[in-house]
Amino acid sequence: MKDLKHLIEMEDLLQQAHNKLVKEAREEGRKAIGYTCYFMPEVLLDLEGCFGVRLRAPNCTTPVMATYYMSGRTCHFGRSLMERALEGGYNFLDAQMATETCTVTCRFQEHLQRMDIIQNPDFFVEFTDVPFKKTENSVEHYRKQLQAHVLDSLHEKYGIDTSDEALLKAIEQHNEVCRLVSEIGSYRKLDVPTITGYEFAVIQLTTITCPKDKILPMLRETAEEMKTRKPDLKPTWKVKVCVAGAENDDPDFIKLIESCGALVVADRYCYGSLPGREEIVVQEGQSPLDAIARHYLNTSCCPRFMPQDIMRGRKQYIADLCKEYNADGLIIESNKFCEYWSYERTIDALVIPRDYDIPTCSIEKEYINSASGQLRTRFQAFVESVELKKLHSRKGADDV
């Protein structure tokens, strides 16, 4: 396929958290607000005068210094963030909006709060408590937490306008990003998709790590470009897969899967777009903050919610995605020592092939995957078995 005009520039933006667009926005006097979790609504950090940066630690090697503080038996992602913080990679931050969700990322943010790591005298950390249920009480609790710990603190510390009008303006911008990302992502549903999973992963990641207003022009042009983009004459993939699971902000992991013959058509993982790029709807008479709190609680597919019907709903969501995006199989991944996904992955690997007849490959990976040789063997063997089963079922249908 013809290269996307902005792909190289976007890849470049993902090389470090303090990228070109973040630097530009800070030079304009805007405050950079770090976060790590879906439950910190990015739209609240993209108010006028500030912008959200979902933290990544690209190119992190062994997190040796972080392991001293956090022990070796903790999630590699949380430790990699800590390592990058200790290396000085997040000194551009003006605040960190933390959530009490995954234990290890929460602990990383506690370290940011208690140790003098970020070299910015005005830097502060706020923690938001996120409920474990999706009831009316939970929504109310969550809304109050967001008001007190996010909006009030941004207003008090940095004078950010957090009025309903300001929130509605931020929602409008956020929704445009969601619309464009979803439109670009919808080309993955085609019989012969005109975008690769790697390209889409790069685009999606830039939208959560860069100021929205600065990434929007590139998104608009890319969406336009996609309307006429032609697929390769001979597809380079053998099967299509959905990737689901824990935190993944490494487009090279997607590239690795695709190099084994599996086109990634759906990204149902933490930092992915499904869910995450649905528009926020504010009903008549509803406050914008209430709409935001409900939106994030209701759309989340995080395995921290334990009620049986919600757990079952998550499996159904994956099965529905596989159908909608024509995926032949599922790759379910979790990071080593991931608190929630270690369990969820084990259950999914059992339930999804059994109840939905979707071939599933279960992978425990590290934040940065240096052992790509063994992963490549696993993915290739999975692709081969899915491809053969596909051929056999086609042959069976022809015989009938």
């Binding site: 240096s370 063994q374 063997t377 290739q380 081969e384 053969l388 089963k389 056999h392």
Partner: protein
Amino acid sequence: MKYFGGCDVGSTYTKAVILDENGKIVADTTIKSKINSAESAKIAMEEVLTKVGLKSSEELEYLIGTGYGRNKVPFADENISEISCHAMGVHVTDPSVKAIIDIGGQDVKGISVDTDGTVKNFAMNDKCAAGTGRFYEAMARSFEMSLPEFSKLSLSAKNVIPITAQCTVFAESEVITLVGEGKPMNEIAAGIQMAVAKRCFVMAKKAGATDSITLTGGCAKNDGLKQAIEHVLKLKVIDLSIDPQLMGALGAAEFARQKGLAQA
């Protein structure tokens, strides 16, 4: 006569097999792998081609590369993962086998095989070398023995001294400590076999292996390990009529035969 080739470039040994159009093995070889995978494949292929009287790989109807160096096999028409190739190799050797434990130089795999020789399910170790050929090399080095001598020694033990460390480096120092304490060498060796067998147990169970299991890869020739696996799995391990180390290359050659004949 048409010929079809399979070349399995492993981390320790490179194996090559040539089949005729009836699926009969007409040549095979096993050589020590070089640091350069392409060179290993070239040497192994030259050996089997000479045995058949062919001048170059281009005279083969179809050639498939497999193993960790599968992408580097010169002249290969395509590459297929060693997981699929071991399953096919075992299937054509003995179709009654439904599960495989493959212990190669740098990984351990449990594979369950479908009725047509395709992979039903598989599990594979993480990137550490515990329970692999490299692990055995390190253990045999601690005993100042060859691998066959080490295997024979373990079979003579009446008791098993448990080895707690799974990590190759820690297990080696644990063994040195036990030897220093004057513990019987054969019982320590049996303990090492049992530690690896337990790891194989996990892979076999993860892959869904329930019965009719066999061993492939270089470590399949280790009788002490075979006995330990039979003990932990409570199953008789099936002996293959063809060298179990050749299964990857044989499976690759069989895939090459099927694809080559389908193309013709």
